[in-house]
Amino acid sequence: MIEFSFWDILRNLLLAARWTVLLSLVSFIGGGMVGAALLFLRIGGQRWARLLSRGYIQLFQGTPLLMQLFLAFFGLGLFGIDVPAWLAACVALILWTAAFLAEIWRGCVESIAKGQWEVSASLGMGYLQQMRYVILPQALKVAVPPTVGFSVQVVKGTALTSIIGFVELSKAGSIVTNATFQPFTVYGLVALIYFALCWPLSKSSQLLERKLNVAHRNH
């Protein structure tokens, strides 16, 4: 039987952790873009757009991420399209992230006083101008802490993609366990790596909150 050193285990896990980081980044950036589009539909003037966006958000918030992954992975397979695990993982995570970010940001936009909309309208600004120059600059400040906070959920959410066979940190953990028969060491390390990724994010969310002094501005 081959002996695996502690370093062998750690190295393999760290290599796999790159995929967790990459998948998190892709989900977060892609989800941010889709989320922004959803946000504009959600609070914009068109009724059908509001309903569509609300339906989307409720659907993705109301079903487990795991089911969404399964559907992305196996669903398209039904139509004869062969979906690689990485693609299904990216798509499902982006769509899932978008739903949550859109809802977080909607709260931020709605927290801006109604008077700001009224006064910018009374100065002759159109909807997009109001958003661009008055509402979003204020809402973004409010949005930073919860958005960074939510990124922690995204990092942890990537662990589920191991179920459809995408080899990221969690999947690597089970593969290495099967080879080394040292589950406690391996999963302990896996947990520590997740913690090393997430803790700085949570911490920075707290720091940002204090720095931007979100709760006590302008009131």
Partner: protein, 241 residues
């Protein structure tokens, strides 16, 4: 010809009819005070003139332009009529100067340098030239309201609507804001103001409108309205027997 022609305007919120057929004509250079109890519809009327509320019946014509609730007409209307609010509503993320510059640059596409020149001039007009770089947080309520007036003036409106602009201010700060408004009136600006400052209405306004339950109950020169209130409602409102 009247600058603002309000004809038989009706406005409902659900079953509640807030404006029950209002007709007022405002001539250029006139200063009109709208007084009345809260709930009498005076703020709603002002918001209708600026297109912040749609009207259900009647018409509002400002300098020949009909009020229609689509973006193009609304924008044209709002370029003619500026509005100042009770809660100042300064943009908290911009300096005083930035507040006055923003809409000029965004709406009128004025180049930054020109917008800044106008902003300095307007802030000077309200006595706040030295606060150009101050954030709204750093200003007193009275100063904030004066910046709001400068911001509205920078769009060069032909009329200004003032919605209880001194009601959120400490008593000692009311005077500085009213002094600015008085100066505007003296310069010939057309003003329609909802106000609780009866003495100011008496001294500065050319006409006073008393609204009661969604109707114009009494209208006339301030000396008549205040000295000889004809209806018991106005007498009660003014506290005279």
């Amino acid at each position: 010809m009247s600058l603002i022609a309000i004809t038989e305007v009706k406005k409902r919120f659900g079953d509640n009819e807030v404006l029950k057929g209002i007709s007022i004509d405002v001539a250029p250079g006139e200063v009109v005070a709208i007084i009345g109890k809260s709930g009498s519809g005076k703020s709603t009327l002002l918001r209708c003139i600026n297109g912040l509320e749609t009207i259900d019946e009647g018409s509002i014509v400002v300098a020949g332009a009909q009020f229609l609730p689509d973006e193009v007409h609304l924008k044209a209307l709002r370029l003619k009529v500026g509005m100042i609010f009770q809660q100042f509503n300064l943009f908290p993320h911009l300096t005083a100067g930035g507040n006055v510059m923003l809409s000029q640059m965004v709406v009128k596409k004025t180049p930054k340098r020109d917008a800044e020149a106008v902003a300095r001039k307007m802030l000077d007009r309200v006595g706040l030239a030295h606060k150009f770089d101050a954030l709204p947080d750093e200003l007193s309520g009275g100063q904030q309201q004066r910046v709001a007036i400068a911001r509205a003036l920078a769009m060069q409106p032909i009329a200004l609507l003032c919605d209880e602009i001194t009601s959120a201010l400490d008593p000692e700060l009311v005077a500085e804001v009213l002094a600015v408004v008085k100066e505007l009136a003296a310069e010939g600006m057309t003003l329609v103001m909802v106000t609780h400052e009866m003495r100011f209405a008496r001294d500065v306004c050319s006409r006073v409108v008393f609204m009661h339950q969604g109707r114009v109950h009494e209208i006339g020169a301030p000396e008549d309205v205040f000295a000889n209130p004809r209806t018991p409602e106005l007498r009660q409102f003014l506290g005279v027997q």
